[in-house]
Structures are given as structure tokens and as C-alpha cells.
Symmetry: C2
Subunit: 467 residues, 2 copies
Amino acid sequence: MNVAPLVKSRLEPESGLIEALRSLVGDRLSTSAAVREQHGKDESYHKPYSPDAVVFAESTEEVSEIVKLCAKHKVPVIPYGTGTSLEGHVAALEGGICIDVGNMKQIVEVNVEDLDCTVQAGVTRKQLNEYLRDTGLFFPVDPGADASLGGMASTRASGTNAVRYGTMRENVLSLTVVLSDGRIIRTARRSRKSAAGYDLTRLFVGSEGTLGVITEVTVRLYGIPEAMSAAVCSFPTIEDAVNTTILTIQSGIPVARIELLDDVSMDGINKFEKADYPVAHTLFFEFHGTEAGVVEQAKMVQGIASDFGGSDFQWATKTEDRTKLWQARHDVYYAMMALRPGSKGLVTDVCVPVSRLAECITATKADIDASSLIAPIAGHVGDGNFHIAYLVDPDNQAEIDEAAALHDRLVMRALAMDGTCTGEHGVGYGKIDFLNAELGEGVSVMRSIKMALDPDNIMNPGKIVRV
Amino acid sequence: MNVAPLVKSRLEPESGLIEALRSLVGDRLSTSAAVREQHGKDESYHKPYSPDAVVFAESTEEVSEIVKLCAKHKVPVIPYGTGTSLEGHVAALEGGICIDVGNMKQIVEVNVEDLDCTVQAGVTRKQLNEYLRDTGLFFPVDPGADASLGGMASTRASGTNAVRYGTMRENVLSLTVVLSDGRIIRTARRSRKSAAGYDLTRLFVGSEGTLGVITEVTVRLYGIPEAMSAAVCSFPTIEDAVNTTILTIQSGIPVARIELLDDVSMDGINKFEKADYPVAHTLFFEFHGTEAGVVEQAKMVQGIASDFGGSDFQWATKTEDRTKLWQARHDVYYAMMALRPGSKGLVTDVCVPVSRLAECITATKADIDASSLIAPIAGHVGDGNFHIAYLVDPDNQAEIDEAAALHDRLVMRALAMDGTCTGEHGVGYGKIDFLNAELGEGVSVMRSIKMALDPDNIMNPGKIVRV
């Protein structure tokens, strides 16, 4: 855990920038303390930093004009979607102008025949799926929060469906981006494949606003499967649950979701949702396909689970039952917090090769058990990705230090297994030092790219790489 | 079609670079005319340019030392795998040192449990699959040639399996790259997902040696499906064949392969392979899955094909029959050439959104029919990607000009449909002007990245972007 100190805001009060922005957007600019504070913090434990002003943008062209004004004054630009990121991504470490794209909610076009659509950056995943309901298509990427597509592209988000449908890396076809000097580019055409030069789409996906502001996103869509079934299965040990996962993936069974919640998380879910699941290490599955295919997949997985002592599957096949079940899974972060009222969660998300997952989780669980903290585990285990929320009293520095030490050891354990410090949350300013540990000289390549595309370091400075 | 003129080689004969390289690698350096000529040309119609010398490298560390020497003298470095690329990628436009990685054939590690492996850049796709045979796993990306994995990563190659398994973009997990100053980086860890900073892996995939030399490649592997069946189906018109493709994709049927060969290509295949397929517009399918799944998929697709006047499926289920069938498909380039002995093929590979594919192919076919040329069409139509080989007499400038004009119109037609100038061959020096037409200001972002990572423009200069 590292904390970047706030250097003086780069905005010179006499520069006239605020006035110039106001004459551009009128009352869609705010300098009120409440609005600024709300925009400087995300859902993480990281210290928030307020921007000098917040502009509510409405179009790509307007974002371009705003960035041009900021560039002229060399004042930072921080893009903001729904503020649900988890590594301090929206903290205005050096002050500057927050561009809130939350009002850019237009569905620009849906190409049903091509299974794709283009939306403005402020459209959220639930809004999009609501809109698509009558088309028979859906967008699968589902982080816990109802995040904006722009934010999800910026942080390379994923979620429970990634094991089958991929992350934002695989599902973004093209982006419209405003560069640090206000130029507008489209990163790719709409065709499914292309070998036309450097992969600008993938460069901006996961760049966390440090190379430009994403204003439009073209994503892949999928036909809603003919049949979908969800099932819950509990295990005697966490290792049994993880080994069931490993064997399922290795067998090439195309599960749509395979999620682990440990006994502590299940206890939290029972309390938060007033449910009565067994308080045991549990896998949540979902199967997508034809009627026959779903039955076939489920049978194979039940077979594997039984070999590891798993219970009989508890099924949810009706849409409302499946929705309830997955809502419970999506609420796990809030359920975890509820285990210790008043606590804050130091949440993390390492990811390792699947073959090392049992070893990584078992060692981590032992480390937690030997500590004084409650720290539930939940994860997208099919990808080798899992979360821990170290629950700490935010006023107790000893607890925070203990959690930070556990966290450091967890990341180093994952790196030693050829894993990554972040499977899906991103780097922000919270994981900069871990990124160096992970990629070494690779980070200097990132820095060269950053300096080439943003020579004055105005795009979300202090995130991913320090310049 | 554009031709970059050869400026004077940047190698100063008195610089001592050749001698320094020779003292590093001994007799694995060649300056013989035959070796140099062979390394300056690929399988395309583009004019070849010989390097000043060819070095046969054996390790990442050795490539690093070679690049350091070239960097000291500001002499170009051109990486070379199997020389099977198609847009002049290996042409030494400004002279320099060709680094042939063809001897780097080591399988570094296979992680059966994680479905991945790491190989040196010179390992070819057939060598890898041969090696994997006893593991039950396979690597699906299959361009026509038996290309090296390093070259396939460099050009973002794909092939017939991409509709189901993705291209090199989706299947490379990590790369070892030697940068323009000789530094060695690994672009990512081996975990399936990561949100750790800029996506360096995807930046180097498709960068065609212009940002660094790829020396090792970590790729995803897949379990060999329980059941595989291939089928051939002919259609009354090319539009019927394409519409069958479109509806198959839109229905979300997970076909493993869906390939179009027009009547002219089928004629070529019959002659080249001594086969007796109907000389008609034809789709080649392959279905992968469980026994029941394959039957189910095939039934659905046969239903769609019949609605468009398609013939009954001709099946190939035994491994040897499937291999024969797909060998015919992979040989189509050579079969096309055989339609007009002595001709050269001006080969191209646009890709459009699938919904526009029938319109694009029909208009293109009409344009060809109105010309004096033979130009068979074959394509990975499930991705919206198709090839045309305009067969020209290489000594007849009028024919070459006519082919170039047809090609220009084809690319502009694809771009107007929001498609790309290259689905899988890459830019090389053959498609630089088309790349500008496709991405405009995006190309200037590519140029900024190129200049940041290769300030002396020594890495395969004159490809993708002009500096």
C-alpha cells in the first residue's frame, strides 16, 4: 500500500481556466466543496483528493474543448464515470479538472446483425443490458458495481462472466478517445479482426485515463443463450473447491461462471441477504448453451465436484432465482463489510495461473488465520483471480498496518507464482509499487509511451506510472 | 499499392559493425548474396530488398547483444522468422542486419494444467502441434504457411480457426522482447487476466518488428475436442454462401471454422489437388465439441444452408479425411497460382463487419468480372475476412496497374463499410497508405509511440509508419 502525497494543485487561481471552462459549459461546471469531494474519491480505502472543479461533459467534441483548455494551462484532467473504481483512480493527486462523463448516456448504435454496439462513455452496464433486452443480445462483462462502459474500458474491468466471455480486453472493438492535446481519434474500425498497425484499442483499454479520455466505446454483444442454469455447491475444504475449479477449466468445459466464496463470505451473505446457505466454502456455477449442452456441462461438473466431496448442486433455473443468486454474489463486497459494522475493506485482487490457485489461496488463508483480522475471500476462480477484503477499523493504525503487511505478502506470493498484482481492479495510485515489482523494465516502456502521448503529464497524473 | 524506394543502406562499410557481429556469433553471420537475397523477400508481390548481412541468432541474450551493436551504429535491424509474410515485412528498405530467429526452436515450457506454453520465436505452428500431440492439447492459430510463432505474433496472424479460437491478439499471453537499445523485457505474467498497466503484450503483437524483436512467445493452448467433424457444402450463388455464414454467426453457433472458396478457387483446388469438388461457390465447415454438441451444431447449420439452396453436407470425420480437406484449403494460395502458370498473385485480405460481407463480396466480384483478370476469392468469412489473389503476369505492367486499381477500389469499399484494409496479413510497407486512409490521426499516435520506443528508427524501418 503506498500513498502519494498531494503536491500543490497545478491550477493557478488567476489563470482564468475556470472562467474559460465556465463560458464553455455554463452551469455544468461546479466548484462546490461537496461536488469536488464526491468526485475525488472512489469505493476504495485509498485517501481521496478533490479536484479543483468538476465539469459535466455532454459530447466528445466538448471533452476535446475542455482538454484543450486544460492543456493550454498544463492543468490535470481526471476522467470520472461512476466513481466505483478501487485503486484511487479518480483521486486528483495534483488537483485539476475532473471531467464527469456520467451524463453521456447515449446508445449511439446497436448493430444486431454484427453483434456489436457503440455507446457514449457514461452508459452503464445495466443501462445497456436493459436497452438490449428486446434484441435477444446481451453484454456480458459485469464488475460488481453498475459501472460505466468508459470506466470499465479504462480499468480493463472484468467480472463473473470473464471465464467464458473474456474481459474488456477481449470485448472492446474500438474506442473514441480525446488525446492530451484535444485531438480526437477512433482507435479501430468495427470489423472483428484487423492487423492494421499497433493495437491502439488495447493500448487505451486499461490505461486508466493516463493517455486520453475515452468518450465512446464499441463493444461485442452476445446472443442470450437458449438455456441458462445456475447452481450452488459447498465443499469440506477450500482446497476441494479450488481443485474442482482447476479440473473443470482443464477439462475445457465452457462454464459461463465459476465463483468461489469462502465460509466467511458465505456467513456475510447470509446475514446481508437474510439467506440460509450453508456456511461453507462454496462454488457458484452458471452454465450457458443449448438445452442439451447445459445439461451435459452440469453433469460433467457435478461429477468433478462430487469427487472432491462437493454437495449436490442446489439449482436456480428460473430467471428470478438466477438473478437473486447472482445479486448475492455481486453484493459480496457490501456483505463482507457488514460482517464488521463500521469497518473499511482493504480490497485486493491478485490473479495467478490456475494450476497455482489452490496453493496460493491455502497459503493466504493460513496467513489470515494467523492474524488478528477478519478477511473474507471471494473470487473469479475460473480465471485464477480472487479478492480479499481485509476488514479494518479505519481509525486503528495498527490494524491498517497489519492488513497492509498481509496484502504485501499476498501480492509477493502471487508474483512468485507468475501471477499479477491486479486481475481486474487496475493500478491507480494504490498499486504503482507492485507494478514495478511485477514488470520491472516493462514499466519504463510504459513511461516512455506516457511521456510521448502526454508530454506535460496532464492526463490523470500519478496513476499507473510516475513521471 | 505503394513502393518505398530504397535509400542508401545506413551501414557504413568502414564502421566495423559486421566484424563486431562476426566476433559475437562466428560463422552464424552471412554476407553471401544468396543468403541476403533470400532474407530480403517474403511470399508477396512486393519488391524485395536485401539486408547487408544475416545473423542466425540462438538466444534472447544474443539478440540483445546484436541489437546493442546495431544501435551503436544506428543500423537497421530486421527480424526474420520463416519469410512467409505478405506485405514486404522483411524487406531491408534501408539495408541493415537481418536477425533470423529460425534456429531458435526450443519449446521452453508446456504447462498442461494451465493450458499454456512458452516457446522460442523460431518454433513453427506445426512443430508446436507435433510436440503437443501426446498432451491432448493443441494450438489453434493457423495461417496458410507453417509460420514461426514469433512471426505470427509480429503480424497478428490468424487463419481458419479464428472464428472460434481468436487470432494471435487473443492467444498470446506474454512476450519476451528485445527493445531498440538492447534491453530485454517480458510484457506480462502468465495469469489469464491482468489489469496491471498498459497492455504491452497487445502493443507488441502486430508491431511487425518496428518496436522490438520478439524472442519468446507464451500462448494459450486448448484441449483437443472430444469430437470434430468437417463438411463441405456448395451453393448456387456466392451471396447464398455468404448469407449462410452471416446467419450462422448471428445465431451464435460456435462453429470452429467456416471458410468460403468461390467457384474460381474450387477450380484451382481441383486442378492442384487432383480433386473433384463441384466447381461452385463452396463453404468448408468444421465443428468442435462433445459428440452430441457437434451433431447439434451441424444440424443447425445444415438447416440454414438448405434455406439458402446449399447442397447436402459432404462429411469428413476421420482425422485423415479432415486433414486432407483442410490441406486443400491451406493450399489455396498455391492452387490459385496454378490457375495461371507463371503468374504472380497480388494477394489481399480486407475484413468488414459480417453484416456487410455479402454486399462487399458481390460488388468486388462484379468489379473483377468487369476486368481482364482472373482473381479467385477465398476467405475466413465467419470473421468477415476474405482474400483475393489478382493473378498477374509479373512482366506486364498494364496488368499490374489494373490489379492495383481493382485492389485500391476493394480497400476503399471495405473502409466505407467500416472495415479494415488488412484482416490478418499486416501493413508491412505494402499497406502504409491504406493504413492512413483507415485510421487518420490514429497513425500519428502510432508514430509517437514508434519514436518514443525507437528514437533512431532502427527497428524494421519503413514498415507500418513512416518516420
